[in-house]
Symmetry: C4
Subunit: 276 residues, 4 copies
């Protein structure tokens, strides 16, 4: 990315670039705040459209508003591409993809009915809020959280893979035990769904065992799930505590050997003995 050549913008484009992409100037800040408000309003409009009583009374108003918001966001997207230093990079970036996804459903609606309800994905654009309001400490925290989850990515993948295998096996067993006595366990896929609902301790109760053997077996699954739920928590906690340590340590740099990673209470560099 860094080596990619960025194109030259005209002064006009540059002015707009600063307004749209940066939040340093009053105009840029005003634009961003207006954008956030627009996003929130457009999500509220889509939500209200789904409420039957509201929809019946304000159908025309809500549809118009949806089209206006979509038009505005489409315009904004084109503008962003137009005044970007590297349009391709923007379009392929996380925010670029989100920005595009946030206008598509209205158009897709012509082909698949109901698609426009997916416009609520616009709410993800609110993620910009941290950057816009320079909530640096919050940005740091979110970066740390992301880092901890990234570090534990592999462990959690392995864990979820085991859980998946287990739910299939447990669900099938319960299907063999309960089907015929219970109208809930209609097929193995449904029983696997039940196993997921149970192991994650969500427990809707839409499907529940009724045979004594099924209840005994479920109780065993739950108690097992009790110990299993501890695993992802353990993974993330350990990752976070490691991160925490790094964060505390990562502050002083030895003036001589330029290395970091000193304990918070050290007076001398532990690598070369220079006074810190």
């Amino acid at each position: 990315m860094a080596k990619q050549q960025s194109r030259t913008l005209s002064p006009f484009q540059q002015r707009w670039h600063n307004i749209i992409f940066e939040a340093n100037t009053p105009a840029g800040k005003a634009f961003d705040v207006a954008l956030l408000i627009g996003i929130l309003l457009s999500v509220v409009v889509v939500m209200l459209e789904s409420v039957v009583t509201v929809q019946l009374r304000y159908e025309r108003l809500l549809t118009s508003l949806e089209w206006i918001f979509t038009a505005l966001f489409t315009l904004e997207y084109l503008f962003r591409v137009w005044c970007s230093y590297r349009p391709g990079a923007y379009m392929k970036s996380f925010y670029g993809v989100i920005d595009l996804l946030c206008i598509l459903p209205t158009y897709v609606e012509f082909i698949f009915g109901g698609a426009h309800f997916l416009l609520t994905i616009r709410i993800l654009r609110l993620l910009r809020i941290f950057r816009i309001f320079k909530l640096v400490p919050f940005l740091n925290e979110s970066r740390q959280l992301t880092l901890a989850l990234t570090h534990s990515r592999r462990k959690i993948t392995v864990f979820l893979f085991f859980i998946l295998l287990m739910t299939v096996v447990l669900g099938s067993l319960m299907y063999v035990i309960e089907s015929g006595h219970n109208s809930g366990f209609t097929s193995i896929p449904v029983s696997v769904y039940w196993a997921v609902v149970t192991l994650t301790t969500v427990g809707y109760g839409d499907i529940a065992p009724i045979t004594p053997l099924g209840q005994a077996f479920s109780a065993m699954i739950m108690i097992m799930g009790y110990a299993i739920i501890a695993v992802p928590t353990g993974i993330v906690t350990v990752e976070m505590s490691k991160l925490k340590g790094e964060e505390e340590v990562d502050q002083r740099i030895c003036p001589h050997c330029m290395r970091e990673g000193h304990d918070a209470n050290a007076d001398y560099c532990k690598y070369c003995g220079t006074k810190l």
Copy 2:
């Protein structure tokens, strides 16, 4: 606060101040114990008022008791203001606001029916219990818990913000999938409510997916939520373990270099070698 001038109280006011605000004298202790009992009784009265069978038989008694308690607590509030060194500071303090909120609902009842049930907020006045009975170790513990939560405030805010965005997106997706087949997912706001119920593993079951696609998608959400629930636990655990460390260490100060942070079992200052 410390620099704010406090007014001079008359000896009569001072005597009452000691009784009402302090718990050192027998009279003060007796007042506080009577107050705690009064609070508990008044909350029980309000609770019983809400039970239809009790309400029908003892309506007059309960209403009278409610008025008596409200009158007493109003009197107590005025007394507290009157014999306080800094009435303004008291009124704006946490306990001052609670004390006021605990008498308002009875009066608001004239305007909004049902408001007097909010009198159960009086139970929050029981928080004074730690101070009154000098449960210092418990006070310490609660201060530590509060501290750990305060330290992890920002991380938890960021986390809850993501959760909020996610529930809106997931809820909308489920609405598109399930509505039309399922009488539960009546609108996007309701579907968002369902997403919250599911992600937090509460799982009432008042709304549950019934289409195969909806069940498969819910299962994915739950397994995801399984890993996500680990995040706040990780945050708080790490904060607490840091605190724990500080608490153990924070006790001795080197008589020579005046620095603290020694290990609990150290005999000599690790910064200057002085005997601790």
Copy 3:
């Protein structure tokens, strides 16, 4: 306890003491194993008595068995008192109280019907299993778990106290919001029960909000509960990790200054410099 004079037992009593209280001799071991089997059987009998279909067919057999087991356990209890070195101490000990509670319900049955179902408390006598089979490592683990919970006792008390106050306030608020629209929230105590069910993420669904405001408010409570559930986990984890540390360290004692608490990898005593 240690200073308390223990009475002298006759050789006959002493022999029985060894059989009943100790598990070193073959006779003692046989007695203990027979006891464990008896306990399990008697619990199964009580459980079967509660199953209507079984009860109808085998009423006489089950009632007889219950009486036989109660008679045997009563005899055993009297024997234990009789051949104990300090009968008073035994009777007041944890196991002594359990042993008594395990025979009482059959007799109490004459006064309160249904009391004999409480005989399942006998299952607690299985706790002896660790001692009988000399499962020392398991005993150690259970001692550690108990220790960790004991250490976090105060923090958890404070935490549960806050949770209690919160459920009362939240339950009342939900009662004001939902009652009148929802047949579930019939009174404040029931609403408090709902708040507990929700905050602990159990979520039966027997009572669930139906008004939009109620659902929105519940969603907030759940998300809050999401962060709150992290607190006890954090408390216990930190306590356990401290214990873990002690456990690793607690092994070597300095031959010179007789102090312990050395790091696992230390070669010299950190208090006096003696080679460990």
Copy 4:
């Protein structure tokens, strides 16, 4: 195992051994990938067989496919035994047992109807996926997870034992309280099942307390369970953080004193001062 003499294979057997047991050669890799696809397909077939609407239309096709897959897997199993260096060791190994269990249900079906649904156990064969695709880091992670769970095995056993005793006692108490008023608590075993559902915070709601006393008692159980759920999490987290430490440390060995356990950033051996 290591000392056990392995038999000599003919070149023909050896070639097949490499194809079936190893994934280094193109043929071996192709075999393994085909196997994974076959496993997935056969599980999907079994799942579809359980869905009534699908079963009605494609019964013949699905039954044929099931028999074909079973035949193939039986052949594969015999081949594995035939070209194994130590057939006995393979048959007694984890994968050998799974491989056998994955073909049995089709044959058992003749004796017990419905048994063939247990064929979904085949999904466990997917565990080979890590080895086949040389997902070494994932293998490491899964080994670590297994290690953490193995280390905490005893603590979790003790914990689950207590939970079991507790659910029996709590279930019986609730049976005494609720039975007669509530059609859910039909017997003590069912009430124990309810106690497990509640303590693990699954909370189906198929059985829920309705008497005031029962609700109050349940609320207490839930709040208690709130603190209890912290215990396994604490156990696993502590085990994992210990492991984590070992993992970081366990890498360099002092060339002089041959000891390990150095900090990741140490330059000199802390036992003998040799440059690492």
